[in-house]
Subunit: 515 residues, 2 copies
């Protein structure tokens, strides 16, 4: 155990750090982090009574969802799942952890962010980093060659959290993937149609779906003179273009990755290009690009993709953008990413008023991404049999953040329960009668509540209805019991009417189905 | 790395173990476990090409859910969530891991089963062991003094899995809890009503809800002469009464826990008692039991509880059973556990035909449990403020196992998608027209599929409908396009009718809402 004096010393200096940051009006996240450290130290010291004090917090980068957040989350999930089901997807689930070796070698430079479990005897395990690798493992293990499935579950990354911008260490992914040997670009186009539908239905404001192809990137690197063994690392540098200006990206390529200035400049020309089917056609005529068979194959597929997207009437939001790279190692063909337009993500600045850099306000925009990964399943199959796959992942945490802000901003109250009626009484000693009645209501499928007190005040019962948006109150009293009726009160209008016990259930159902 | 020859040697001896077990017709689980070890060894050796081979499995004690299992799971969850919502519950979510110290000291002897995360720098973390302790942490952290919430999520225990009987290392819990300072036994009775409703609606066959009270157990231990410091350990021995005969339980008390033979025999008399309100009344008159104030308080509450349960009309399934102990440390009052009647759990023997012991066939019965824990939140509150809580956890994995067996046994096919219509064609070169049509259907909210092939055979399109239960096919052909119609085919009857494009959407909606 640490020495008490030593901890007190640490608390003192940590307290100074916090005070300094506050006086400098530093970034809120940074302050929160240092405050958390301070609390932890204080907890280690324990209370005055010497009793051990718990650190009352969730682990770094994680959060609880309160009922209001859950109500919003449920709404968002319903929209997304409805879309996946509309497109005929089944769903599967996989364990939260996998054998460590299942994840090894799938994420390139990001592998260091994987959470490992402690070796407590038995297998070496890691928390899943995404849903794609477990999906590929599932396909190979069960020898499934075609499936269209969605999977909504939490994944884990030991990343630097930026929670105010919806970036967590534990976060949901909503994945939709199509596995199978099919004709080119048909499933790929459906994935983009799905992104279009979901982002439109969620009413997140204007958005744009960037599209590119790994083969075009690789071909471009080849014709620009990037050595083969540098493709992946240069690719992850290009991937930073949405977060830093070209000059910085170029500097990283040349200074850190050792690329020639000339090659970098050639890449710079290409990655500034954006367009639609026309750009794909133009590049197919580009004498340099044409030298790469890979690039040509990618460009032809982009053309075909756009023709299908036209039939789906979604080309207004789709841009062929040669700067789109996406970091993950496993992509082999088309890749895409959806970003919200800046105008609509302005509240980000609202969340982190201090020190919001360009990087922060830009990166909040990405809300969906995916692509084709034809080689991943083969990495798991003992005979290397390939199952071509294409999929999309909805970045649900950022969507939650935006929806939460919208809910905060709007006057509308978010209900966290669905209770239709409160069983109440004005007089005392009616608990038994109330329990008898509420039991009847529950048995008839009506959502009902009663106070857990023998003799609650009518006012407090009515107040509870106001606060939680319960529309009806069924009031019992001596007279009502004698008359075989229940007084049904409409909370909003305060209108009251006597309903016979026999008609009560149908009356409640009628009134609440109208609402 | 291991030496190749050494691994080959290990494979040889492991192979012999497997062969021996198979020849002895050993327990299926045991064989599976040894086979898994063999596969792992083989994988370590690698293939003939020297390439590393993956072990294609999920971690021990975990499983994937395939689409059919997910369809069943969704149905079960819907029933349970509907019930929770009917009773006015909100929902929350907490992270899958907690600070290690949050879980420390909450689970008594079971703490050794907690999964820890590897120390990768930063906080020490553990996977949640149940949903109750995170709930208590949530209440204390947010200073919430009353809430009625449900939480459905996976929990983790490094237990010995017995997967054929629905016992996993990763499994779902469905918890409903009522926190707040209320009048005695009203929320407790509602929890039992909820168990009754859920088990009835799921149609799992006959069941029984055993009820007891920690105070009655402790009072009983006291009057029987158990030393104070042995209450908990004797309690966990009593807890085994549903798995072993009294003689064995007694032997453990006397030989392992050092209890006197006399005290054990007195306990033996009490724990054989079962009844209803009458038994509580009888024990309130019992001269020995009466010596314990605690026991009297517990018995009075059991009486009160039964009076509420009578109003809820659920006493036909509730039994006051003094042998019910429940292992967890945090219970302070009423405890309960629901078990399915043996007759209906018979398929358990079906699952594990070899070596099914009495223990196995009995323990499969428990499908819900819970109780009152008035001290847990106070353990987290810096000032020790208590928030009384009572709750119930539905043992969903066992319910899944039973539902899966029922689905297997019944002829009815479980649909894994909700697709209403397949867009198809008999002729070639109609892909574009099909994509245009399906896009219209999707935009109108209709669940629709199209084959991802340019020119699929009509037969294979129809076969897909048969296999996945799609009720309608919208067939396009040159003639239909010319006439501005679509041929709508009913898969079940093979009836076909031409519908104008303008009426197609309403026609599909009409036909599928009837279904």
């Amino acid at each position: 155990m640490d020495d008490k004096a030593q901890i007190q010393e640490a608390i003192k200096s940590q307290g100074e750090i916090v005070r300094k940051l506050k006086s400098e009006k530093a970034n809120k996240e940074q302050i929160d982090e240092e405050v958390a450290k301070l609390l932890e130290l204080k907890a280690r010291l324990g209370g005055d009574d010497g009793k051990h004090q718990f650190v009352l917090k969730t682990p770094k980068g994680t959060r609880d969802y309160n009922p209001k957040q859950m109500a919003i989350r449920e709404k968002v999930f319903n929209t997304i799942v409805s879309c996946f089901k509309r497109h005929g997807a089944e769903t599967i689930d996989t364990p939260v952890f996998e054998l460590k070796e299942t994840l090894t070698g799938k994420y390139g430079e990001d592998s260091k962010l994987i959470y490992d479990l402690k070796d407590q005897g038995g297998e070496l395990l890691s928390l899943r980093y995404d849903l794609t690798v477990p999906f590929a493992r599932y396909l190979a293990m069960n020898k499934i060659t075609n499936i269209k499935r969605y999977h909504i579950a939490k994944v884990y990354r030991r990343d630097n959290p930026a929670m105010t911008r919806g970036r967590y260490r534990e976060f949901y992914q909503c994945d939709f993937d199509i596995a199978g040997q099919y004709d080119a670009m048909i499933p790929d186009a459906e994935c983009l149609k799905i992104v279009y539908e979901i982002l439109s239905e969620l009413e997140l404001g204007d958005f744009c779906i960037k599209v590119n192809d790994r083969r075009i990137l690789d071909g471009m690197f080849a014709v620009c003179g990037v050595p083969d063994d540098k493709f992946r690392t240069i690719c992850s540098t290009v991937d930073k273009l949405d977060k830093m200006p070209w000059e910085e990206v170029k500097r990283e390529m040349v200074n850190e990755k050792g690329l020639s200035e000339e090659a970098a400049d050639q890449i710079g020309e290409y990655v500034s290009m954006k367009g639609g089917m026309d750009l794909a056609e133009k590049l197919l005529q580009d004498p340099k690009m044409c030298q790469s068979k890979q690039a040509c194959a990618g460009l032809s597929d982009i053309k075909l993709l756009f023709s299908y997207l036209q039939l789906f009437q979604v080309t207004d939001k789709v841009v062929f953008d040669l700067s789109l790279a996406r970091g993950l190692d496993y992509y082999t063909g088309v890749i895409y990413e959806a970003v919200l337009s800046q105008a609509d993500v302005a509240p980000a600045a609202n969340e982190a008023p201090n020190g919001t850099s360009v990087e922060e306000s830009v990166s909040v925009g990405s809300v969906a991404g995916g692509g084709r990964y034809d080689g991943l399943v083969g990495m798991f199959d003992p005979k290397g049999r390939k199952v071509p796959c294409v999929g999309v992942s909805i970045g649900i945490e950022r969507i939650f953040s935006i929806m939460e802000q919208k809910a905060e901003a709007s006057a509308e109250r978010v209900r966290t329960t669905e209770v239709q009626v409160m069983v109440a009484s004005a007089q005392k000693n009616l608990l038994e009668e109330k329990l008898r009645l509420i039991s009847e209501l529950w048995n008839a499928g009506i959502k009902a509540e009663v106070m857990y007190k023998k003799n609650p005040k009518l006012l407090s019962q009515l107040q509870h209805c106001e606060e939680s948006g319960i529309p009806l109150v069924a009031i019992l009293g001596e007279q009502e019991l004698k008359d075989g009726v229940v007084k049904l009160r409409v909370v909003a209008t305060r209108e009251e009417v006597d309903i016979s016990r026999a008609d009560l259930i149908s009356e409640i159902k009628k009134r609440t189905s109208e609402a």
